[in-house]
Symmetry: C2
Subunit: 277 residues, 2 copies
């Protein structure tokens, strides 16, 4: 569980937001989740670049990344660990889908680091299949926008604390991602991850793995993956900016060892906290 430690709304200390905010009414905004380690938001430049990309994808002006960065640094200063969530919405507007918002709202929330068992990194985790599917819409694919009801419904499908992630398929049975993570497979020395051009969220850790992987694998491929191929993999892992890399050791009747490529990627990222930009 991750509890709120400090909140900024448009740069000011506040835990309140206008009821007219379009983030609430329409999911009309984008966000990033950033790990904070030893007082510093990890990979912040890259995270803000992706936030700006996603803002553009939904027709929002690029945010002032210098100002966002200063706020993020201020919130993170002095914290040993934490999770920073940065939300950018289209701002307050009148009723109706048409935007009358004068300026975007920026919300930065610093939370405590969730207490995952060390075994998630060392021994690996169990994955289950979610019944809730990801809808296909290339117009929004990859974008981390605020409309995440599919993930909420998927996460509500299980209570078992031994299961640490749920696998989401698209409505046409392709393997896409975890509820709150991206997914990679290793097969015959190749690293594979699902194509996110129809749906899914393109995370920063996924991007960093794709960049780092050529040093550790024979080839890296982004393409469609089905359940048969998932089960036939030699290694399986999930990743996001908070957890870094978790090996997947069990998926229903399929079991995997914690493989060498997974271990190399964990080592590359300093075990838990992805380093980089």
């Amino acid at each position: 569980m991750s509890r709120l430690l400090h909140a900024l709304v448009d740069g000011e200390d506040s835990t309140r937001l206008s009821v007219l905010d379009r983030g609430l009414h329409y999911g009309d905004g984008v966000f990033r989740t950033v790990r904070v380690e030893r007082g510093v938001p990890c990979n912040l430049t890259r995270q803000l670049a992706r936030l700006s990309d996603d803002a553009r994808r939904i027709g929002l002006a690029a945010p002032d990344t210098e100002s966002l960065s200063a706020q993020a640094m201020k919130l993170s200063a002095g914290r040993t660990q934490g999770v920073l969530k940065i939300l950018l919405t289209r701002g307050q507007g009148d009723r109706g889908y048409r935007s009358t918002a004068a300026k975007p709202t920026v919300i930065q929330l610093l939370y405590s680091m969730p207490e995952y068992p060390a075994a998630c990194w060392r021994a690996g985790i169990c994955l289950r299949t979610c019944e809730t599917r990801l809808a296909i819409n290339p117009r929004l694919a990859g974008v981390k926008h605020l409309g995440r009801i599919e993930q909420v419904l998927a996460r509500a499908e299980w209570d078992d604390p031994m299961i640490h992630e749920g696998l989401m398929l698209d409505t046409e049975d392709r393997v896409i991602e975890g509820v709150s993570s991206n997914l990679f497979l290793v097969r015959d020395g190749e690293l594979l991850t699902p194509d996110l051009s129809r749906c899914g969220v393109a995370g920063v850790t996924r991007e960093m793995i794709l960049e780092a992987a050529p040093a550790y694998t024979r080839a890296v491929r982004i393409r469609d993956i089905d359940m048969t191929e998932l089960r036939a993999a030699d290694e399986c892992l999930v990743c996001n900016s908070v957890i870094g890399v978790w090996p997947v050791i069990r998926f229903e009747n399929t079991q995997w060892p914690v493989g060498p490529v997974t271990r190399k990627l964990q080592a590359h990222f300093g075990d838990a906290c992805p380093r980089g930009v």
Copy 2:
């Protein structure tokens, strides 16, 4: 344009919401838009029943409709006209898709009635095709949840004040609905409206038209409709709880008269404000 007149958050006068609300973070909630006429929210019982249905669809406990109804009546009292938006979210929670919210948030917002030209009812409107498509996900089809970024992107596609609605297709080219309305066609004396079992929002006015139509048409059919069939229609109309029924008289190169079934449905609903339950 529709401006805020009065706001209640959990029954209290307030225009502020917690930044931890899951409605903001995930679009994790549902809503209804209700026309207010002569101090009374139109079709409130039916609207609250649909709100409860949608809440159940996303795993929220049914709201206390008596309390919601009392709040809605209080906000509407003494108002000649207005638009009431009722939002029900999963409430405040910790970070993460898994719900830790103790209780839902209820927000009721009373807005001024938007000033549409009378010609929209009398002479009819122009419709255009949106490039933004509706993603297909039967799990959420029909539900008026808070994740409406597709509608926001679709509405941002045009500025021309002579165009009053945009037509949305699904990602497989079916005709589904207007950006903020449902759509009906008349063909050979039959009333047709798109099947909303894959995507779309099932409005209360659509439901009331489906119930009323047997008195005015030979048959009523809910089924898949494509662009060819749309263009070949004898009449076309859009509807929602604020506007009631608007004839569509032009869709790109296609023109329609304001037909007799459309006029009968307008008359049935007292021209602008749907009456009923």
